[in-house]
């Protein structure tokens, strides 16, 4: 009798999920060190970039608005719907700290949110998807140890970023309390999105799905607070602001009132989300998600069985996503141009930077927007063309190259998709910018004009694609890193070249700035030169791809 009861008790103790609570966290310390080891460089780079941006912006704003009178003048015109919608409702705009907030707070907060989303997924769902979590969990590692370590390390990372942002601002002689409030408010946004990514990582079964889910939440948070900032009373946003995690950060009003208590909301929300994620993790099996994986088609469609069709099928989601994003951006650019032009009236270095010295402010600004739009489309083209490398790195190229398709033919099927898609995107988004701008000034002919102006950037996008092919062929292992790094430099040169005081010949001869802008006199020479370069790079790349050994990761 006693034996039976004892056995019964033991069975209950051994039922999954009913072990000692502490066991679920066994190995936590080891996992913290492990995650730090795998991510310290990424985190360091993020920290340097985010804190560095503060220094750069403060310095450029000090040049742009050297006297208190300049800042007062700016404050009187700073609050426009465009600024409120994009970067948040301006307040305390007559102080350098307030201007810093307008220029960079939103960028930093959103960038940090993206950083933690990707980092949490990288060490969470991605590891699980790759089967490495299973390997670790097979050892003495508690159910929650890896996940909790992931979130805690990321929380530590956001704290460091917050402190470094504060110190960067203090180094530029900004008020200490305001600087710390700014750092803390950005940190708060980061913490909440660690929680969001943690839950997303439990729900989705793939790292892609987890990143998408968390990014959607970030997008909604951004739009909600944009709506709140647009329905402002004076320099206070509407109550809707309290619905968005980004709004909680804004409500700390750094360099203004420096309210500290909204930080508590962010911290509590992050903790609650973390708790929810732990509960979800307790309820599911390793490798599984909460959201189900649906069965797919038994056979491939006729189109998918062609090389180009396969590329399209594999990139379908990405192409749709980029198209929606680019088109929304285009509508936005076109509709805010007139408002922004009013804001920028006056010949400051900032105005110069945006308009590229164009005489008509609106035209100059639209030209700048058209270029920003092209940068987005280039990012899509780069990502799409990068499949040449990623397919080889992950071993799927072997599967295809051992069939009856030449490597050149295969690579062309991977190039033609971004090339044609970017052409369509340029035309569509250009006409969207023109149409929405035309709607705001009552001129229906703008659509065609901007479509053509955007088309002029097609050779530049093709050169980016050609460069990807070239790198994938000649530097297979470094290709992705090199192409994205070069793209990053190009973005900075194109968008902020003027702000950094770089020499004119450089600023005006980069891949994108060399192309004639909207409102500038058209010249075919740069387009011909860029096209020729694209053809040469692509040809060299294809030749090399054909003649070298297959190189897996």
């Amino acid at each position: 009798m006693t034996a039976i009861t004892t056995q019964h008790a033991r069975t209950e103790a051994l039922t999954p999920g009913r072990g000692r609570v502490i066991d679920a966290y066994a190995g936590f310390g080891i996992m913290v060190r492990f995650i730090l080891r795998r991510n310290w460089l990424r985190m360091l780079i993020w920290t340097i970039v985010l804190a560095g941006l503060v220094v750069i912006v403060v310095q450029s704003q000090r040049v742009a608005f050297p006297t208190q009178a300049d800042r007062e003048a700016y404050a009187s015109i700073a609050n426009t719907p465009a600024v409120a919608a994009m970067t948040g409702l301006p307040y305390a705009a007559s102080t350098l700290g307030g201007i810093l907030n307008i220029k960079i707070w939103m960028t930093l907060a959103v960038a940090l949110a993206f950083a933690v989303i990707f980092l949490v997924t990288r060490n969470g769902r991605a590891e699980e998807e790759a089967g490495r979590t299973e390997l670790l969990r097979g050892g003495v590692l508690g159910q929650h140890a890896y996940s909790l370590a992931d979130w805690i390390v990321n929380a530590g990372f956001t704290v460091v970023v917050g402190v470094m942002i504060a110190l960067a601002a203090i180094s530029q002689r900004l008020p200490v309390e305001g600087a710390f409030a700014m750092g803390a408010s950005i940190m708060g946004v980061g913490l909440v999105f660690i929680g969001v990514a943690a839950v997303a990582g439990q729900l989705a079964q793939t790292s892609r799905g987890a990143n998408t889910l968390a990014t959607i939440v970030l997008g909604v948070a951004y739009l909600v607070r944009a709506a709140a900032d647009l329905q402002a009373h004076g320099d206070n946003p509407s109550g809707l602001s309290w619905v968005s995690p980004i709004g909680w950060g804004q409500q700390m009003r750094s360099y203004g009132e420096n309210q500290w208590w909204p930080l508590a909301i962010s911290v509590v929300a992050a903790a609650v989300l973390g708790g929810v994620a732990l509960l979800l993790e307790r309820r599911r099996d390793v490798g599984e998600g909460i959201l189900p994986d649906r069965p797919g088609p038994r056979h491939a469609a006729a189109l998918t069985m062609t090389p180009v069709g396969l590329t399209l099928r594999l990139q379908r989601g990405s192409i749709i996503g980029w198209t929606i994003g680019v088109l929304i951006g285009a509508l936005f650019f076109g509709s805010v141009a007139t408002a922004m032009a009013k804001l920028l009236a006056g010949n400051t270095p900032i105005t110069q930077a945006f308009t590229g010295g164009s005489k008509d402010l609106v035209e100059g600004l639209l030209g700048f927007f058209a270029m920003a739009n092209v940068l987005l489309i280039s990012a899509f083209a780069l990502q799409s063309a990068d499949s040449i490398r990623s397919e080889e790195a992950n071993g799927r190229a072997e599967l295809q190259w051992s069939r009856a398709i030449s490597r050149t033919g295969w690579a062309l099927s991977r190039i033609v998709v971004p090339a044609v898609a970017s052409l369509l995107l340029l035309l569509l988004s250009g006409s969207f910018i023109g149409a929405s701008f035309g709607a705001s000034v009552g001129d229906a002919s703008q659509g065609g004009r901007f479509a053509l102006a955007s088309l002029a950037y097609w050779p530049s996008v093709l050169l980016i694609i050609a460069f990807v092919v070239f790198c994938a062929a000649w530097l297979p292992r470094a290709a992705s890193a090199v192409t994205w790094a070069v793209y990053g430099v190009l973005v900075v040169l194109t968008m902020f070249g003027d702000l950094f005081g770089l020499p004119d010949w450089l600023i005006h001869h980069t891949l994108f700035t060399a192309v004639p802008r909207v409102g500038q006199e058209f010249s075919a020479v740069p387009l011909i030169v860029i096209s020729a370069l694209a053809i040469v790079l692509a040809a060299l790349g294809l030749q090399r791809l054909r003649s070298r050994d297959m190189t897996s990761a």
Binding site: G296, R298, T304, M305, N394, W401, S402, A404
Partner: protein
């Protein structure tokens, strides 16, 4: 393009390559300072199943990737179905089906889609054959590849290969991750492919599989062929194990030249014997009143292990002695 000197020579050469699906001679490949292949020889006769044995890292996959035109050889010659695997890759691949030991699929496509795509890339998709092999391998084609286990990913590649009409199947450790039931199905499929007149190159380290399926075997070590031929050729001149019951004193056998590892359990003795010493040993055995004699030829595993591990040095010494003799 070599000039045609002698039509007769050309015709004979063509005949020779016609009878060999794969012909590799003195193949060399370096990765930086690492010599992956040092003069490897490999032949697969048309319509036969050839086993390709060697441990991990011995150069099996490198050889196969050269045959598929994925890597370029640094020396030696490789001929695949009479063509140059690098230069004629696209043409040859229409006639070849390949299964890698570690299959990576597109995670967001289903197994069925992947099979169709792989078939289309080769140029033939026969839905009824695909369905037949899907059933044989018991694979659900509507699942996304990311949810497949290792064995199921392997099945996707196997179904794609067997359902094709390729003349040559190149299988690189294809049963990696398959359960014993599926290994049985695989064995049947290879036999069937042979029955259809197709050639098979089967790289493996499962001896039973190779012993059961293969007409010829090539054993490689460190990028070099150490043994090749039919199984009976390989067994020739190798040591067999003899177990026998005798009335006499087993100690008298110990002194006989060519007898190794003699053990006795009562009247039952067993020992290894060199093929060449068999006559002498039988003479010594006869007076001892032998009963119930069993002679076991060396298994493929024993043949293989002679080139590796603790036996490798023995084998090397034997080989040396054989050449000096």
């Amino acid at each position: 393009m070599p000039t045609k000197l002698n039509p007769e020579f050309e015709r004979r050469k063509k005949n020779m390559t016609d009878t060999l699906a794969v012909d590799v001679r003195g193949l060399e490949k370096n990765f930086g300072s690492v010599h992956a292949l040092n003069g490897l020889d490999l032949r697969v006769a048309t319509g036969s199943v050839a086993g390709f044995l060697g441990p991990n890292g011995s150069g099996k996959s490198t050889t196969i990737r050269i045959l598929l035109g994925l890597l370029r050889a640094d020396g030696g010659t490789a001929t695949l179905l009479g063509g140059d695997p690098w230069r004629d890759a696209v043409e040859l691949h229409r006639r070849v089906a390949y299964v890698a030991g570690d299959v990576t699929l597109w995670p967001n496509l289903t197994g069925g889609q992947a099979i169709d795509i792989l078939g289309a890339l080769r140029g033939d998709v026969d839905r009824s054959r695909i369905d037949k092999y899907l059933q044989l391998f018991d694979l659900d084609p509507t699942k996304k590849a990311r949810s497949y286990s290792k064995g199921n990913r392997q099945k996707v590649a196997l179904v794609a290969a067997f359902s094709s009409r390729a003349e040559l199947l190149i299988l690189d450790e294809p049963t990696n991750g398959l359960d014993p039931l599926m290994e049985g199905v695989f064995t049947d499929c290879v036999s069937e492919a042979k029955g259809e007149g197709r050639s098979v190159l089967l790289s493996s380290h499962i001896f039973a599989e190779v012993e059961k399926l293969c007409d010829t075997v090539t054993i490689i070590r460190e990028g070099r062929t150490v043994e090749s031929g039919t199984l009976s050729e390989l067994r020739h001149l190798q040591r067999s194990t003899i177990t026998v019951t005798i009335d006499g004193d087993p100690a008298s056998l110990a002194g006989v030249d060519g007898v190794y590892d003699l053990t006795a359990d009562g009247s039952r003795v067993s020992f290894g014997v060199d093929e060449s010493a068999l006559a002498r040993v039988m003479k010594a055995l006869a007076p001892l009143g032998p009963r119930g004699l069993i002679s076991t030829p060396p298994s493929l595993e024993e043949l293989f292990l002679r080139h590796y591990g603790v036996h490798a040095d023995d084998a090397a010494r034997d080989a040396k002695a054989a050449t000096t003799r």
